[in-house]
């Protein structure tokens, strides 16, 4: 568990250093994730070593955004002022993204002869 956690933190740290060093808008942990994915392909056995700890972390992923969520009490004014606009934006854009994404996938799969059942 310690080597796995150290590996994860090391990639996050490297991601933060690169993101800040180059002034990127990409969050450090996202770069860390991409880096770790690349490392899995290069270092045999690394994925198996990290997997149990990573799965433990991800099993409780939704707990981790409770503290940020509670922060909404400090922003009630914003949500009240823009409530209708935000509600409409979320509803329409989520429905549109699901529909457009699924239709595009199905259309390209049909065009390229990519079948579901194999």
């Amino acid at each position: 568990m310690i080597p796995a956690l150290a590996t994860i933190l090391l990639f996050q740290l490297a991601g933060e250093v690169v993101a800040r060093g180059l002034g990127l808008t990409l969050p450090g942990p996202v770069l860390g994730m991409v880096g770790l994915l690349a490392a899995f392909g290069l270092v045999p056995g690394l994925a198996a070593m990290v997997r149990p700890t990573a799965q433990g972390l991800l099993a409780h992923l939704s707990l981790l955004f409770v503290p940020a969520g509670v922060g909404v009490v400090a922003h009630m004014g914003v949500l009240r002022a823009d409530g209708l606009a935000l509600a409409l934006a979320l509803l329409v854009s989520t429905a549109a993204a699901i529909a457009v994404g699924a239709l595009t996938f199905a259309a390209v799969a049909r065009l390229t002869g990519n079948r579901a059942d194999d």
């Binding site: 990409l26 991800l58 409770v66 969520g69 994404g101 996938f105």
Partner: protein, 238 residues
């Protein structure tokens, strides 16, 4: 009387109280979620947030005081984001086999999610800092919070908008995709993962295993793409 006051003044200064309260509130939410038969609109995070907001309000506790305790949980968002590399690596084979449809659906879904949300909110007069909080709402929470922070949005507003997006996606996906007549579980799952991240993915797993696996891939890929698309899209709405 002084004893109770002394204990409270100790507790309100130390992180222990609010760290414990955060876990307890989530536990309550999780029990409610299970008791409902895992209904997508009974979301454990939303329940935990409501419970904690009520407790903070009734004890007159300011958010920064609460966050002193809760920051230990919040910190784990970063490592959890890095850990997403593990399920993505496990799905590489499926990604290679359906690479073209996935790439097309990822681009179409991600751009639609970011641009349509920004366009609607912008047209209704929402200010830029709130737009920055809204733009990454289809990405998984830890990533969306990071993107929002980097663009000058409010991470806490983003956290709530991400949650609501996930719940909306989980609730509407099945009726919407049925109405469109789509029967390819890969297409259905992938689109839900791109648009509605982890909550949508959990819902997809309930409906069909293939849909769930593809939703997970969609969520992972869109976490990376949103980090690129959202800051760029913001440039059009300033």
């Amino acid at each position: 009387m002084t004893d109770a006051a002394l204990i409270w003044s100790y507790l309100s200064r130390e992180p222990l109280l609010w760290l414990t309260a955060t876990l307890l509130a989530y536990w309550v939410g999780d029990i409610a979620f299970r008791a409902s038969g895992r209904q997508p609109f009974i979301n454990p995070v939303l329940i935990a947030v409501l419970v904690l907001a009520l407790v903070l309000w009734s004890t007159g506790t300011a958010y920064p005081a609460y966050f002193e305790g809760a920051k230990f949980v919040h910190f784990m968002l970063g490592p959890a984001t890095v850990a997403l590399a593990v399920p993505m690596y496990g799905n590489l084979r499926a990604v290679r086999r359906a690479a073209l449809p996935m790439l097309a659906a990822l681009l179409a879904g991600s751009f639609t999610a970011v641009f349509s949300a920004l366009a609607i909110a912008w047209a209704m007069g929402v200010e830029p800092s709130v737009l920055a909080s809204l733009a990454p709402k289809s990405a998984t929470a830890p990533v969306a919070i990071g993107i929002s922070e980097a663009m000058g949005g409010a991470p806490t507003v983003t956290a709530v908008l991400v949650l609501l997006t996930g719940i909306i996606g989980a609730v509407i996906a099945t009726p919407l995709l049925n109405a469109l007549g789509l029967t390819d579980w890969r297409a259905r799952g992938f689109a839900v993962g791109v648009a509605a991240h982890g909550i949508g993915t959990a819902r997809a797993f309930q409906v069909h295993e293939t849909a769930g696996a593809f939703a997970g891939i969609g969520m992972g890929l869109n976490a990376v793409l949103t980090a690129l698309v959202a800051p760029w899209a913001m440039g059009f709405f300033n």
